[in-house]
Symmetry: C2
Subunit: 215 residues, 2 copies
DNA sequence: TAGATTGTTAATCGATTAACAATC
DNA sequence: TAGATTGTTAATCGATTAACAATC
């Protein structure tokens, strides 16, 4: 039996942050209204697509006038859950982990990394921007106690599944996985994979193609 | 007039690194052949999709036997241009830049970062894993002299367009953009954007949805 | 009012999945 | 040979784009 609620289209979800960034910038100029024609022109999208995308926020526009900028900003933020901070654990305190801990843009997304973990003795106890690196075995206990819902995996592929199990055991609801590994989770746990290799593949395949055609 | 050569489907390109990783692991066990049923089961894909995807490499399989593992590995690598090293410039020597410089997995993708740039006086002259940070204004001259084709932008959004212009001026053919900004390039220059915010949006939207439904 | 813009339905496009004959 | 697997065509699904009436 299929009990799935028809979920929101992924391409639309992926475009929302781009709208949000644009609208926040517009809000700084105290602009009150914006048409989707305007948004579309700036972001190089189709106006109809912009209208469809914005529809999922529940905000309606006014013909001839457009959408209220602050209303849209608030609606997108709350739709994404970016209006209030979400605490997250990061596992894997290598250079990628350190980069994410130091990544300032996360603040705009309401993501707050509150603790880092590693199983490498050499890294445990160190501090990365005021965040102490704790031993991985403490994940379940702390995740539960601190009511953490998001886990970020920045460890090597080999460690990804063990870390996943620790996170899940600690009651984590969603995993943002930067490791190039297919992790397995129980039903109901959300996984979002960041595959840098996929992105690079698109780039190099096109480059290779262009060079093949070019000469 | 539309002179576009019908390009390869992006979803297929994005899956190729996953196949490659799986096949390389299989090759280590000296396995000679693999069926797409097998691949599909392990990667949780549809077998027909696997067959269609592998088709673009030009490799054909044999009924009842499957595909030659080493043949597929070689074919995917050369299709992606991952068989020989590609030198790249990285611009923006912050924590994300440092993370990418230290990211070992890039070696498997044939990506080789040969120089880092920044316009921040404080960073210029420093060394990140044997790579010296040079001033950004040197990009065009060096890119041309060293025949660099790939530029990686890990700078803040505000700097992204200026950096793009320097890279393009230096004759760079493809830009891997990690800055949350819409960069504009002349026709023929390839841009691939890595938008962490898009990925996080999918994660948090689903989490928010689940919590809304849950209780 | 006139006309720009929204909201919505229909058409198109592209990717995924199903069906099945060919084949080793 | 029998049957698992490929290669390919057709059907389905979902997202994008086009068309247009409603509206302020």
């Amino acid at each position: 039996m299929n009990t799935d609620i028809k979920s929101f289209p992924v391409p639309t979800l992926r475009r929302l942050p781009t709208y949000l960034r644009f609208l926040r910038k517009l809000a700084e100029t105290d602009r009150e209204f914006v048409s989707c024609t305007h948004i579309a022109r700036d972001l190089r999208l189709d106006p109809t697509q912009v209208r469809k995308d914005l529809e999922i926020t529940g905000i309606t526009g006014r013909p001839r006038i457009g959408y209220s900028v602050p209303e849209l900003v608030t609606a997108i933020e709350s739709f994404l859950g970016w209006n209030n901070n979400r605490d997250a654990f990061l596992v894997g305190a290598g250079s990628l982990g350190a980069a994410l801990i130091g990544y300032k843009a996360f603040r705009e997304y309401g993501l707050h990394i509150v603790a880092a973990f590693d199983s490498d003795e050499a890294k445990i106890g160190r501090t990365i921007r005021d965040i102490e690196v704790l031993p991985s075995f403490k994940i379940p206990e702390l995740a539960e106690r601190m009511h953490i819902h998001i886990g970020i995996i920045t460890a090597p592929a080999e460690a990804a599944q063990d870390i996943t199990d620790l996170l899940v055991f600690g009651g984590i609801k969603a995993i943002w996985n930067f490791a190039p590994a297919n992790i397995v989770v129980p039903e109901g746990v959300i996984v979002e994979n960041v595959m840098l290799s996929s992105s690079l593949a698109v780039l190099t395949a096109r480059l290779t193609e262009a060079q093949r055609v070019g000469k």
